[in-house]
């Protein structure tokens, strides 16, 4: 998806909440105007009062103190309530926009070619952080109307001192906005990119090192490894410090600008003293009202990076799934001279050492991993690589090696398989998976919560639940990756028997990857992936 698409996605999601964003912007503007006026009017009131006090009793009596003092109290209340309302409406709009955006992003992510890459742990973590950065930018949306309103009221009030004072304030406001926009790429964008790169390098190095953990332990290498990580750690810390410093420097521009604005207006003013003070304090308030906007600009460095990553992660435009999905009748594996041909309902056992590409093969067939052009697999005489993943997904049901479960109930996990499943069908599938007795024994039965990713089930239970789900999908081919891992011999034998019966009754074809003889014995055909030079093994490494 191109950046323009992502921007439109964001804009579309925000459009639904346009009213609330507008209310939040209006309230932000009101709060800012009240804040600028409160300080300015207070200064005018004090100065006017001082002059009147010096002017004697008559001057005091003619000085209208009721109106300004009432206005001061009113402004204090307006500022508070408007700010509260702004936060509420701003957050409402941002949260609702984000809820919509999350759903739409999810839809887009669903269309990526290699869903496995997106679903990897660190990719998901980054996805969450990137969405967080978008949330931050959405919550800052009312900062622009606030800055505009604050600047406008400041310029108007500075006019009371002198038109030149207004001009000076305008120049300062424009200069500070430019400063934020010009300094951000220089001070922050590089630091933000360095930060992300250093973080990724640190994690990658640690994974590299930690995969040799027995050796690290055997020789006591931890101090040496930590020393080796020092480079990445230092790079990360320094980039983060540069970012913090850059952000502080950009913010400091406002502090300095506030001082300059007050000094300039005070020096330029030609007006009576109360109006001078009003203009001076309003100018300071106008500069301060830029702060939210400036922070938004500097945080833009992070938002841009987040958008770029999201863009790289999300897939092409959603395409309508081809309704005329073929039922795969024949499968031909043709690699290194060895070839196997399967007809509908036949069974294939796949063996080979770890790393020889067994899992890759099943994932390519299941349409969750893109197949290379030289994969050597033909479905109904068409190269697997040329078929849309949707076609494969309609023909194959995979129970993967690491049984992936949803955080939900047993029923939630089973019903993913196909819409409109009845409880009888669920129980029948659990029965084939040799899990029905155990689920019946659970306090909540089918409504039993299985924990995060199925953490409350044992490895063997997860495996069999995943198998029952694959059975429920009702696809012409069943793909099983190490189905007996974590099972004792007795259960394994029972599972084999029931599965064989079910396959026979439904005429479903089977491809099973296993090290154990029991499951391989189910299959008439055999594919041995031994050897490192096959195309499949290379696909596994790439």
């Amino acid at each position: 998806m191109s950046r323009a698409h992502l921007d439109r996605l964001l804009a579309d999601a925000a459009a639904l909440e346009r009213r609330h964003f507008r209310i939040a912007g209006a309230l932000a503007a009101a709060a800012t105007i009240a804040a600028v006026l409160l300080l300015g009017l207070s200064g005018w009131f004090i100065t006017g009062a001082a002059l009147a006090g010096l002017g004697g009793v008559l001057a005091v009596q003619t000085f209208n103190y009721l109106l300004p003092s009432a206005a001061i109290r009113l402004l204090a209340i307006v500022r508070t309530t408007a700010r509260y309302g702004e936060r509420l409406y701003g957050h409402r709009a941002a949260l609702m926009t984000l809820a919509t955006l999350r759903t739409r992003l999810f839809d887009r992510i669903l269309t990526v070619g290699d869903v496995r890459a997106v679903s990897a742990g660190d990719a998901v973590t980054r996805l969450v952080q990137d969405i967080g950065a978008l949330e931050d930018s959405l919550i800052r949306k009312p900062a622009l109307p606030a800055a505009l309103a604050g600047g406008a009221i400041g310029i108007v009030l500075a006019w009371l001192a002198s038109p030149w004072a207004s001009l000076a304030l305008l120049v300062l406001l424009v200069a500070l906005s430019l400063w934020a926009h010009l300094a951000t790429p220089r001070l922050l964008a590089i630091a933000a990119a360095d930060m992300a790169a250093a973080l990724a390098r640190l994690k990658a190095s640690m994974v590299d090192h930690a995969s040799a953990s027995p050796e690290i332990l055997a020789y006591g290498l931890t101090p040496a490894i930590e020393q080796a990580l020092e480079v990445e750690k230092t790079a990360l810390d320094q980039a983060r410090r540069r970012f913090a410093r850059g952000e502080a420097i950009i913010d400091a521009g406002l502090v300095l600008g506030g001082g300059l604005a007050m000094g300039a207006v005070l020096a330029i003013s030609q007006a009576a003293l109360p109006f001078t003070v009003l203009a001076v304090l309003s100018a300071a308030g106008a500069i301060e009202s830029l702060s939210g906007y400036v922070r938004g600009v500097s945080r833009g460095a992070l938002v841009t990076a987040a958008l770029a990553r999201l863009e790289a992660m999300t897939g092409r435009h959603p395409v309508p799934v081809d309704a005329t999905i073929s039922i795969v009748q024949t499968i031909v594996f043709d690699r290194n001279g060895a070839s196997v041909r399967l007809e509908a309902g036949e069974r294939l056992g796949i063996a080979g050492r770890s790393g020889s590409g067994k899992t890759t093969l099943l994932e390519m067939l299941a349409g969750v991993r893109p197949a290379p052009a030289d994969c050597g697999i033909r479905l109904d005489d068409r190269n697997l690589a040329t078929l849309p993943p949707e076609a494969m997904r309609a023909a194959f049901a995979l129970s993967p090696q690491d049984a992936q479960l949803l955080s939900g109930t047993v029923r939630d996990n089973l019903r993913v398989a196909r819409p409109g499943l009845t409880d009888e069908q669920l129980w029948a599938a659990l029965d084939v998976g040799c899990l029905a007795t155990e689920v019946r024994a659970m306090p909540e039965g089918l409504d039993q919560w299985v924990g995060d990713g199925g953490a409350r089930l044992s490895g063997g239970q997860r495996k069999r639940l995943s198998l029952a789900r694959a059975i429920l999908a009702g696809r012409p081919w069943l793909l099983l990756d190490e189905p007996s891992e974590g099972l004792d011999m007795v259960t394994e034998a029972r599972l084999c028997r029931r599965l064989a019966t079910w396959l026979h009754e439904t005429g479903t074809g089977l491809m099973v990857v296993s090290h154990r003889p029991a499951f391989l014995a189910l299959a008439k055909h055999r594919l041995d992936l031994e050897g490192n030079n096959s195309a499949l093994a290379e696909a596994a490494l790439s």
Partner: protein, 528 residues
């Protein structure tokens, strides 16, 4: 972990920033007074002073932010020292899981940054800074100073009443959001399953309902959560309004109650400009509240990853002679999957080759001996003592499929096994391990520079570096985890030959698929 006594802490600079607000207000007041008198010279001086004070504040705020980051780096370094060793010797498992563990540990430590860089210094400054402002205001008008201080009472009361409710609400909000994010993460993680079964629409709809429901509930919570910031906002506005009204009526002489002070214009303006500064530290602190929540959640998580070391670790029993190993009904329990029970007996000075199909748990047995795999039942004895009480880490030889590298020379990398080894010993080990051709072929010899991946070395050369290490270590106990797997036949035979000769007289437990390597062992055991 505390920086309480660190002289350059950020809080000092935030407090200095409050001090710098005083000359700024004074310069403005003096300037207005000079304008009133028509004294252009003083006016110009005051304007210069005003700008100088603003410059000072800008500088102080930059230094405060930078010092805060420096303090955060120190805290993060301490945590890294505590957490990284746990991650580096975490149980070897699935590569993907390892990636998640590493990302979790690294990211949570980064999460500590905002808490230590911003929240903590601002909280320390928020105690002192308002008092400094009130004291300075009292110099101009002690009644105004008192007014500022008096607003603290209802402020504190309001924060105590609304603040606790707001904190609870904020915690619930964070909870709801993290649950939502958890749901999103869970569904993205399960993408292969979801697309595999064509369940996109159903899961997508469910996710949409859930996100909107959580957003709606979060909004109800936010109404309370924003109360505390509204209270800060209200008192910030109120303090300005009260000071303005008091000063104005004082100047007019219209106060309905007697006050023992008569203000001048410059005094009144000075106090007015200081009034917003009084609640500024609290507003800054409120803006950093999110950092606190994230930081505290991170600490909780990190405590889980790396529990504080127990001081009662008894000294380990050293091994000098080749020990006898004994596994008694060992079951390795990974929570979900359990493997075993395994029993084996390995007399001192003999070697045993474990063979059997992949995935049966051969490597896990070696890991269990090192304490890298959780033992659910049974026990492992080294010379009759519990393996956990014997000083195995750092005192044994290991050769496996993956070899750890650090940036440095080839010699440095071999020497990791025995840091006190001389150059001659390192070179002898390297040549004996069959690295001679490599040393001769590359111009650098043993000084060949390597990165943390050992890039540039072939698979066989990497293994030979591991073999050179085990030779250099000269330990009485060797653990070998398929050191010849995936190597070409010639290298495998060569390495088996080297190991056969060098392993004589040691206790060796090896896991292998290779018949050549298994042949060098005294005994062979097939697991099924």
């Amino acid at each position: 972990m505390s920086n309480r006594y660190n002289p350059d802490k950020a809080a000092v600079f935030w407090i200095a920033d409050a001090f710098a607000a005083i000359p700024l207000a004074a310069a403005l007041a003096a300037g207005v007074a000079a304008a009133d008198r028509g004294d252009c010279g003083t006016l110009l001086l005051a304007v210069v002073g005003l700008c100088a004070a603003a410059l000072l504040r800008a500088g102080l705020q930059i230094v405060a932010a930078d010092r805060g980051e420096a303090a955060a780096i120190r805290v993060k370094t301490t945590w890294r020292r505590r957490v990284y060793p746990h991650v580096l010797v975490a149980a070897p498992g699935h590569h993907r899981m390892l990636g998640e563990t590493v990302a979790d540990a690294v990211d949570r430590i980064e999460d500590l940054g905002g808490f230590h860089a911003r929240f903590l210094p601002l909280r320390r400054a928020a105690v002192l800074s308002p008092l400094i402002i009130a004291a300075a205001a009292a110099l101009g008008s002690w009644v105004a100073g008192a007014i500022l201080l008096v607003t603290l009472l209802p402020f504190a009361l309001g924060m105590a009443l609304a603040g606790t409710a707001a904190a609870r609400a904020a915690a619930r909000q964070l909870d709801a959001l993290s649950r939502l994010s958890g749901l999103f993460v869970d569904r993205v993680r399960a993408l292969p399953v979801i697309v595999g079964f064509g369940a996109q629409d159903r899961i997508g709809r469910h996710l949409a309902d859930a996100t909107h429901e959580v957003a709606t509930r979060t909004l109800a919570v936010l109404k309370v959560a924003f109360l505390s910031s509204a209270i800060i906002e209200f008192f910030a506005a109120l303090s300005v309004a009260l000071v303005a009204l008091y000063c104005g009526f004082n100047l007019l002489g219209l106060l309905p109650f007697p006050v023992p002070e008569t203000l001048r214009l410059d005094e009144a303006l000075f106090v007015l400009v200081l009034a917003p500064e009084f609640y500024l530290p609290m507003r800054r602190l409120a803006a950093a509240y999110h950092d606190k929540q994230v930081g505290e959640a991170a600490v909780e998580r990190l405590e889980g990853i790396a529990p504080a070391p127990s001081p009662s670790a008894s000294p380990k029993i050293p091994i000098a002679e080749p020990p006898a190993l004994r596994f008694e009904g060992v079951v390795i329990d990974y929570g979900g999957t359990a493997i075993g029970p395994f029993s084996l007996d390995l007399p001192a000075g003999t070697s045993l080759a474990l063979r059997g199909p992949t995935g049966i748990g051969k490597s896990s047995l070696l890991h269990a001996l090192l304490g890298l795999a959780p033992i659910g039942a049974g026990r492992i004895l080294v010379d009759g003592c519990n393996a956990a009480d014997v000083a195995l880490p750092g005192h044994i030889g290991w050769a496996g499929q993956s070899v750890a590298f650090v940036p440095g020379t080839l010699a440095d990398n071999i020497r990791l096994a025995r840091p006190d080894a001389g150059d001659a010993a390192v070179e002898a080990a390297a040549r004996r391990a069959g690295l001679g051709p490599l040393i001769a072929a590359r111009g650098d010899g043993l000084a060949l520079p390597l990165d943390h991946r050992g890039s540039g070395l072939s698979g066989g050369e990497r293994r030979r570096v591991g073999i050179a290490r085990i030779l250099l270590k000269d330990a009485p106990l060797w653990l070998l985890d398929e050191p010849t797997a995936d190597l070409d036949a010639r290298s495998a035979v060569e390495i088996a030959g080297i190991l056969a000769e060098a392993s004589r007289g040691r206790t060796v437990l090896m896991v292998t698929h290779s018949a050549e390597l298994a042949a060098i062992a005294t005994r062979e055991m097939v697991l099924a």
